[in-house]
């Protein structure tokens, strides 16, 4: 008798735990031929809500870490991913990639994480400034994370797309609620296992699988989400913009092929930063006086 293979149920990642969706629903992830390859949680708006609560709670812990420590943790993510490379390659192949392409995607992802790990304790210096003002103030501008960021993972790439947008968001000290790739969801949940094993505090990243069309509204109308990021989805752009209006969410949309090497850079981090300007009273305008 032929053995019946057991399909893994991939659970969502929320608040540092791997619960099933509160709705109890699931959907099948299919390979290119339409054969089922895994059971995925079909997340609900309440899962989104719970994830946002976790992300908000984790914001202090994550943004409060020293930039250098965040850098170490991101580097750790890359290390752990390197160690589990073969699992990701297998999943990519299962989802229809060719082997050499799959290997390249995982390796590019690792490199991109290392790239952003390097930026963690540097972007602030590059982007900050001391501003000349005409009163007795030392005036400087510096970056702060915007807060909780909603990320709708790129739908054309299972791992690299997710990594390319998630890493700059968390490198800058934000916490994140991710709606995973709907049709190629395996890597996102396996990647959350990597995050979980890499000293990323619980709740700093939350990943929910399910129907994007259903989950976009509760995420983008949520008053406690400070910014939204997505890639592609041009047909939904207007709708997302409208949903985001009420609390003036910052919306950043990209239409890029994340396989290209030029789809990484400083501005992906600063897209999710607020500029804080401080006016510090001093005795004299200008520095070069005898009191100095």
């Amino acid at each position: 008798m032929k053995r019946v293979e057991i399909l893994k149920t991939y659970k969502i990642y929320s608040g540092g735990k791997f619960p099933r969706t509160e709705s109890g629903r699931y959907y099948l992830a299919l390979d290119k031929k339409g054969n089922p390859i895994a059971n995925m949680c079909m997340g609900s708006r309440k899962d989104v809500r719970n994830a946002v609560v976790s992300a908000r709670k984790a914001l202090g812990a994550w943004s409060g870490k020293t930039a250098f420590n965040r850098s170490q943790i991101l580097y750790r993510i890359a290390e752990v991913l390197e160690g589990r490379k073969s699992q990701f390659v297998e999943e990519l192949i299962l989802q229809g990639s060719q082997k050499n392409m799959a290997i390249k995607e995982v390796e590019d992802s690792i490199d991109r994480i290392v790239y952003y790990a390097g930026w963690c304790d540097k972007f602030c210096q590059i982007g900050s400034s001391v501003n000349p003002v005409s009163s007795s103030h030392f005036n400087f501008s510096t970056y702060e994370p915007v807060g909780v960021v909603g990320l709708i993972a790129p739908q054309d790439s299972s791992l690299l797309g997710l990594v390319s947008l998630l890493m700059p968001i968390i490198a800058g000290g934000n916490t994140c609620v991710v709606l995973a790739n709907e049709s190629l969801p395996l890597c996102s949940i396996t990647f959350s296992e990597v995050l979980h094993a890499s000293d990323v505090p619980g709740g700093a990243v939350n990943i929910i699988t399910g129907h994007i069309s259903e989950l976009i509204k509760p995420l983008s109308t949520h008053m406690d989400v400070n910014a939204l990021a997505f890639s592609g989805l041009n047909e939904l752009k207007k709708e997302i913009d409208l949903f985001s209006v009420e609390n003036l969410k910052r919306v950043r949309s990209y239409d890029l092929n994340w396989k290209n090497t030029d789809t990484q850079g400083l501005h992906y981090i600063t897209d999710f930063q607020e500029v804080k300007t401080t006016w510090h009273p001093i005795e004299n305008i200008g520095g070069a006086t005898s009191t100095y």
Binding site: V48, V52, P218, T221, D224, E246
Partner: protein, 303 residues
Amino acid sequence: MKNQNNFNSLPLSPSVDKVGVEERVSRFQKRSIKTNSKMDGLKMVLNMIDLTTLEGKDTPGKVRQMCYKAIHLHDSFPGLPTVAAVCVYPSMVGLAKSMVKDSGVKVASVSTAFPSGQAPLDVKITDTKYAVDQGADEIDMVISRGKFLAGEYAFVFDEIAQIKEVCGQARLKVILETGELATLDNVRKASDLAIYAGADFIKTSTGKIQPAATMQVTYTMLMAIRDYYDETGIMIGMKPAGGISNSKLALHNLVMVKELLGDDWLTNKWFRFGASSLANDVLMQILKTDTGKYQSSDYFTID
């Protein structure tokens, strides 16, 4: 009339089946309350809240701000009730009273050397008298848990009876501090003791000790109230306090009250929530139900 505050009239308390209580309570938590009934329930919860600040660091400014909030919960959403009362230390009663005026919001004061209750009786009486003189509508007293656990029930009984006398027109809530009573049997015993000694309300906790108002404890106390009502026809109020910080738990508590005591208890005359952060969560739920959008605490007053 009530039993004449006589310790000898106190019946033997039945023992409490802990496993049974847990089972029963878990069923209250499986009710699904949606749309209109949810909205009505949430508004009822708001109207039953004793908005509380009981910190050593309380300032007149803090109390003023809280009293304002008690009356104006969220003015941008019309049609909301006020809370039932504000709950403060005796030193703040006069101020609170002057703030709430004739808004219908009552002023409750903790007393009897809250939260420990470790003071001689005359100090407790003075404490209570001061609060009443300042205009407190309600007195939240603590029992002497040390004496209770040592088995000196008559002492605890007499103490409650004497404080009740000092209260005059003010309604007396008796805080059992169930987190220190260790067993549900003790909770039941203390509830009966407080009720027979003259409590108008029984209240779970000070909010300073964990665990506070678990549903098991509230259930046990509600049963004591029901048995007393069956016996005498006199209604006693219930106030779970501490630990009820979200709307869902508050709604589950209402379900429990309705099913154990009936609709008569579903007003703020007979049921209260002692809480500081519950109000904001309920408000956020109400706005979510109304707008369909999940809310952020950034847009609500700081407690």
